[in-house]
């Protein structure tokens, strides 16, 4: 499958059409009804957490954060194709994938309230903290893949990044390294059409992002990123390819950032309302819901119930995070090095002397 959808020939994998109908049975992933419903629930959970986080930001309970809306199928569909022992290297806009891996809404909110503890996922030693410098995490995925191969493991690494990320030198260097050393990495590009305000067509002159795989001698495939089934099928095929030692794969999930870049962003400055309207019916949740409903697997009652559960979870998480206030001073010094060099001890002591003076005044 990876090679039969040649991006140079303008092919894009789609399985589930906007109408909710299956249009490609050949590549339909074998999924039980329950699993499919679970996938939808997870997308919905990510959607609700995302929507509520936006509200919490407006209420100043957390700070600026990225908005996920529209990318849930790409995140969830890809993550579900992997095993718990596999590695996940985050960008910062794959909440659905992080939740699938076992990350929590609480941690998501805590991170964007401004605590490093938000990146600490107990019991998930293979979920890296989110990465702020665009594209830079791609090289880490190559290195982790390298280590897996060296250790003779059968795990794979999935690495998320955006369309903007493909312009960075680290994209190039990371994919090249992985291909040279046949590292088991799925490079998963979330092409949501924008890097903040820059439209994808100004980011690069190549017709697709998937075709950039040609530069590294690896397979590249473009999938409909709003189609859970297509994303899942492609990632599953990629995982098989990669796990069998044949080297890395590049997947471009063609999707759309339905919301602003972050809560601090104003898309009306740079993109036409019509474009947003055009994408609205392609909402990945809508499509899957139509499909599930058509098969009698879903209805409004279940929708309401799931929404309510996700809302309750998110609210509870926010309340928990509301209780946390400032980072203790000691933590700022504690995690720099394995030991605590004299410099840090001296600086901390000097600052504590000031705090005492202030207290005493």
């Amino acid at each position: 499958m990876l090679t039969s959808y040649d991006p140079l020939k303008g092919k894009r994998l789609q399985i589930l059409a906007e109408s909710g109908r299956i249009v490609n049975r050949k590549h339909l992933p074998e999924w039980t009804d329950e699993a499919l419903v679970e996938a939808y629930r997870l997308m919905l959970r990510a959607r609700v957490a995302d929507e509520k986080a936006l509200l919490f930001q407006r209420q100043k309970r957390i700070h600026t954060l990225p908005v996920n809306k529209g990318q849930e199928a790409a995140a969830v569909g890809s993550a579900l194709a992997l095993e718990p022992a596999d590695w996940m290297v985050q960008s910062y806009r794959e909440l659905g994938a992080v939740l699938q891996k076992g990350g929590t809404i609480r941690n998501h909110l805590l991170y964007f309230k401004g605590s490093e503890w938000g990146s600490v996922h107990p019991g998930l030693p293979r979920l890296l903290p989110l990465s702020v410098p665009i594209g830079s995490q791609i090289t880490h995925a190559a290195g982790i893949g390298h280590a897996i191969r060296y250790q003779g493991g059968s795990e794979v690494v999935i690495c998320y990044f955006g369309d903007g990320g493909t312009s960075q030198g680290d994209f190039h260097e990371g994919l090249n390294w992985a291909a040279v050393f046949k590292c088991p990495v799925i490079f998963f590009c979330m092409n949501n059409q924008y890097a903040i305000s820059l439209n994808r067509r100004h980011q690069t002159a190549s017709a697709t992002l998937a075709q950039k795989a040609v530069a590294y001698g690896m397979p590249g495939i473009q999938v409909d990123g709003n189609d859970l089934l297509a994303v899942h099928a492609a990632t599953r095929a990629a995982a098989e390819h990669v796990r069998s030692g044949q080297g890395p794969v590049l997947i471009e999930a063609y999707t759309y950032r339905m919301g602003p870049h972050t809560t601090a962003d104003d898309p009306s400055l740079y993109r036409p309302k019509e474009e947003e309207e055009e994408w609205a019916p392609r909402d990945p949740l809508l499509r899957l819901r139509l499909h599930l409903e058509s098969r009698g697997l879903w209805d409004s009652a279940r929708e309401d119930e799931s929404r309510a559960a996700a809302t309750a979870e998110t609210d509870a998480a926010m309340r928990e995070v509301d209780e946390l206030h400032e980072t203790p001073l000691d933590e700022i010094f504690a995690h720099q090095y394995s030991d605590r060099p004299a410099e840090l001890r001296r600086q901390q002591a000097a600052y504590e002397a000031y705090l005492q003076w202030k207290e005493a005044r």
Partner: protein, 327 residues
């Protein structure tokens, strides 16, 4: 005279130079349609067109490297790196080319390039959006590093930077962007690069600061005055070249020196100032100079930021210690 905040003053300088000199181009990530994430370039693309003011792919190394190419080909690029924390992908271009081209070619090729770098903390931002690594940049031979603290200075310094034949890193204190307004002439004026300014004269202590820390310093100086301490306050404005003369003059008068900055202590700007004062005014020092700075740690995320960023009270404390220290 119009009252402008820092964003407006910088925009006014860019507007002037775009209008004044066809060779000036303004570019970077999101600076066009969106007007930059801080809206500093807002309206400039509309006014000057996409050829003069444009968005680039998300790739800092080529933003700087292509900037160098344009500069050697006769243009005067003024480029924006969205946050100072994202200059590192371009570090190779900065260190190995931008700063060296003039010397390498014995003046045959020059790089009249300005890189605008919003920097500094206190805005409760994400990781890598709050750092102050000017000391690292000022250590690179061949670059000039300028940091304004007020709208007035910013406009005059930026026009000088764009007109300079040398590459200039123009670091903008984000925390000050919209913090206050000041009367700023609508027309063009220049402030020479490399000159500090004594913003308040005093007799007992010298306090040196720059950028966003100037506001903290001013408040601390006021608090100190209430305690009966007369502090001379110097705004460096330029980190390299560094106006040693002005510093020496002040320290020779007051005998006591404190340096305030956000960046990490070790190998920071304060160390350089202390070393220079030692070399030429050691005998005037009546007490050990004090560094009031960030720690040798990663800048904490917002919930820890308050510990890291020097506050007026902390500066006051340090000034009092400095004053009380026996000669």
């Amino acid at each position: 005279m119009p009252a402008m905040n820092l964003v407006q003053a910088i925009q006014s300088a860019l507007d002037f130079k775009l209008g004044d000199d066809e060779r000036v181009l303004v570019f970077g990530e999101d600076v066009g349609l969106e007007g930059g994430v801080f809206r500093v370039t807002q309206g400039l693309q509309e006014k000057y067109g996409e050829r003069r003011v444009f968005d680039t792919p998300l790739a800092e190394s080529v933003i700087v490297g292509a900037g160098l190419g344009m500069a050697v080909a006769g243009l005067r690029p003024v480029l924006e790196i969205q946050f100072c924390g994202f200059i590192y992908p371009a570090m190779n271009q900065l260190v190995t080319h931008v700063s060296r081209m003039r010397n390498r070619s014995r003046g045959a090729f020059t790089v009249p390039l300005v890189i605008r770098l919003p920097y500094g903390g206190g805005i409760q931002a994400l990781e890598l959006h709050s750092e102050s690594m000017e000391a690292m940049l000022a250590h690179i031979p061949g670059l000039k590093v300028v940091i304004p603290s007020t709208p007035y200075d910013a406009k005059g310094l930026l026009i000088s930077a764009i007109e300079s034949e040398d590459p200039v890193l123009f670091m903008e204190p984000k925390k000050v962007y919209r913090a206050f307004r000041q009367e700023v002439p609508a027309e063009a004026y220049r402030i020479p690069l490399g000159k500090a300014s004594v913003v308040q004269s005093g007799t007992r202590l010298t306090l040196v600061a720059y950028g966003a820390m100037m506001r903290v310093a001013r408040q601390a100086v006021e608090l100190a005055a209430q305690e009966g301490l007369s502090v001379e306050l110097i705004d460096l404005r330029s980190i390299y070249p560094l106006d040693t003369e002005t510093l020496l003059e002040s320290v020779k008068k007051t005998g006591r020196l404190a340096v305030l900055h956000e960046g990490p202590t070790s190998f920071g700007v304060a160390a350089e100032i202390i070393a220079r004062v030692n070399e030429e005014a050691l005998y005037w020092l009546e007490a050990p100079p004090r560094r009031i700075t960030g720690f040798d740690t990663v800048m904490p995320l917002p919930m820890g930021e308050q510990h890291y960023m020097p506050t007026p009270e902390r500066v006051l404390y340090e000034l009092i210690q400095l004053h009380n220290q026996a000669e």
